[in-house]
Symmetry: C2
Subunit: 338 residues, 2 copies
């Protein structure tokens, strides 16, 4: 089912979008080519393209986070911009690391502009993100920069685990969750709490929002893992079976592995061996993963994490409007294309 | 002439070295392979190697900077560690970007471990650097993190200019100095001032030390540019004529270009055209650059910047011992292998 886009995304994009453009405009003009292309603001030759950009989930969370602390939406904007910049730093680098040639139905920056441009553009977005926070006219700016630095560090550690898992046969469920919590949960936890942090919200509020973001991140990643095997290329913009192709040890495979017999494990290992598996082998592996509960368990995991996110919100005394938007946003994030 | 290593480097290495090891030990074990190898602490297979590490100029500056503010050497250690980490983040990424397969007479990390490992290891060092400052038990930690973020951002901009210059025929002296000030000056300015910043030194002291570091960085880079053309591979650990090979627009070429006739410019352009120039063409280009004053002008530029660094120190009321060590360090940095 395709969930309709919640109004909060349009509202927060209107607030954060111009600030995002203004921050990127401070980069050297020599970087605008790959960066504007990456954001979907321009073609490869620099011609502006209407629309563009991702769904804006992280900026929306940062702005709702400020509003949760009783501040106006504007107080969440530096955090919104910083989170979007760090997220895109990670996309630029991960596409090189994972050798991904397509993202959002377009060639990736490294595939078009070269590896060097993708690396340096990513580096520039990461430092720009922190500069935006240090430069923000808010007492919590430096504290927010510290929180974002730690979240980024955890995200990088998650990516390292993801990379090393590719060369391993088996990964435990705990290891997989640690990896996904770092890769996706850390930054969503930061997004959901950074606005409150900058607006001087209580520690209890900041912690509750961070817990909401952390669980939401895990739910989101679980859905992403489902799409990584069973998602339609037309929808995901990635090749079919992309996670199996890349030897990813994501939740469906890890759940199935735990439930598989020794001979089924040998079969999975054989089907997904080094190099690029054949289409037939990936189809067979996907069927075996599904038969051993990998698909259902991952969906249940996503559902439980979404519930945990809502419970975290329940522990706080939130304005009703903000709570509703956080809930709508969470449903949108987790139910996309699944 | 080879200048003897000043005692300050051994003294500050003893203080910063263990803290550097401790910071790196907090990285995921999965990163230790490429990172320990990069620092020269281990072989490619992880076997520890005695010695290792660079000259330690940036850590020494950071520690002297704290001492300049009247603080003990230990107060400079978080800055020393952070600067060394950021410097090595840039080396890891620049080696990929510049396609350099050797550094310090050893294969580079990307050449041995792959591009992905070099990218993610660099990312991890950058965020670790900032975490070290945020975690430091010092009131100026967050301020220092802000200063390091800005310096890193400027360094990245310098690297961007360096990359884009490679595809250009000519670059003005001003453009070249802006590039080199960013690529090398920004981080040395930060190294020379971060200790004083964290120790609560006066703005005047912080500014004077930053100016010393900025000029020292330009002097250092000018010497590096000389070595990039006329340095012996046995000494530099890089191929002969490496800057010409890579179409770098460094000071010697820029000075010579300014003084060259139209036909000499055409000749230089022809000799150093796209692709990899022949050895004979690079030798001829180097001779022409030298004949047009590129070598002498660059050496004079380095001398002037070194003088300016000393003048910046003269404007402050420094402890005599610290001043002597800063001067010795500057001579060492600029006179190496030239």
């Amino acid at each position: 089912m395709i969930t309709s886009t919640p109004p909060v995304l349009a509202r927060t994009r209107d607030v954060a979008g111009p600030a995002m453009r203004a921050a990127v405009a401070t980069l050297l003009p020599e970087l605008h080519g790959p960066v504007h292309y990456h954001f979907g603001w321009a073609d490869v030759d620099g011609t502006p393209v209407p629309g563009g950009g991702g769904k804006g989930v992280r900026p929306a969370l940062a702005i709702l986070s400020a509003e949760a602390a009783g501040a106006p939406a504007g107080a969440g904007v530096p955090g919104a911009v910083a989170l979007e910049l760090v997220h895109n730093f990670s996309l630029l680098h991960d596409d090189v690391i994972d050798n991904d040639r397509e993202r959002r139905h377009r060639p990736t920056v490294w595939a078009l502009f070269g590896v060097g441009d993708a690396i340096i553009a990513g580096d520039a977005l990461l430092t720009l993100a922190l500069e935006v926070l240090f430069d923000a006219d808010a007492p919590g700016g430096a504290r927010a920069a510290g929180a974002l630095t730690r979240a980024t560090s955890e995200m990088i550690a998650g990516q390292v685990l993801d990379m090393t898992f590719e060369t391993r046969d088996a990964v435990s469920l705990d290891e997989c969750i640690t990896m996904e919590s770092g890769k996706t949960g850390a930054l969503l936890a930061c997004a959901a709490s950074i606005g409150a942090l900058m607006a001087g919200g209580s520690d209890a509020l900041v912690d509750a929002l961070a817990a909401y973001g952390r669980h939401l991140g895990l739910a989101f990643q679980a859905v992403d893992d489902l799409l990584g095997i069973w998602g339609s290329p037309a929808v995901t913009g990635k090749p079919a079976w992309s996670d199996l192709r890349q030897h990813k040890k994501a939740l469906p495979l890890v759940f199935a592995w735990e439930r598989a017999t020794a001979s089924e494990r040998r079969e999975l290992h054989h089907l997904l061996a080094d190099g690029t598996p054949t289409e037939a082998a990936m189809a067979e592996a996907a069927a075996l993963i599904e038969a051993r509960g990998g698909r259902d368990c991952t969906q249940s995991f996503a559902d439980r994490e979404l519930d945990a996110a809502f419970r975290a919100l329940g522990a706080t005394d939130l304005d009703c409007g903000v709570r509703t938007e956080l809930v709508e946003l969470a449903h949108f994030v987790v139910e996309r294309q699944s």
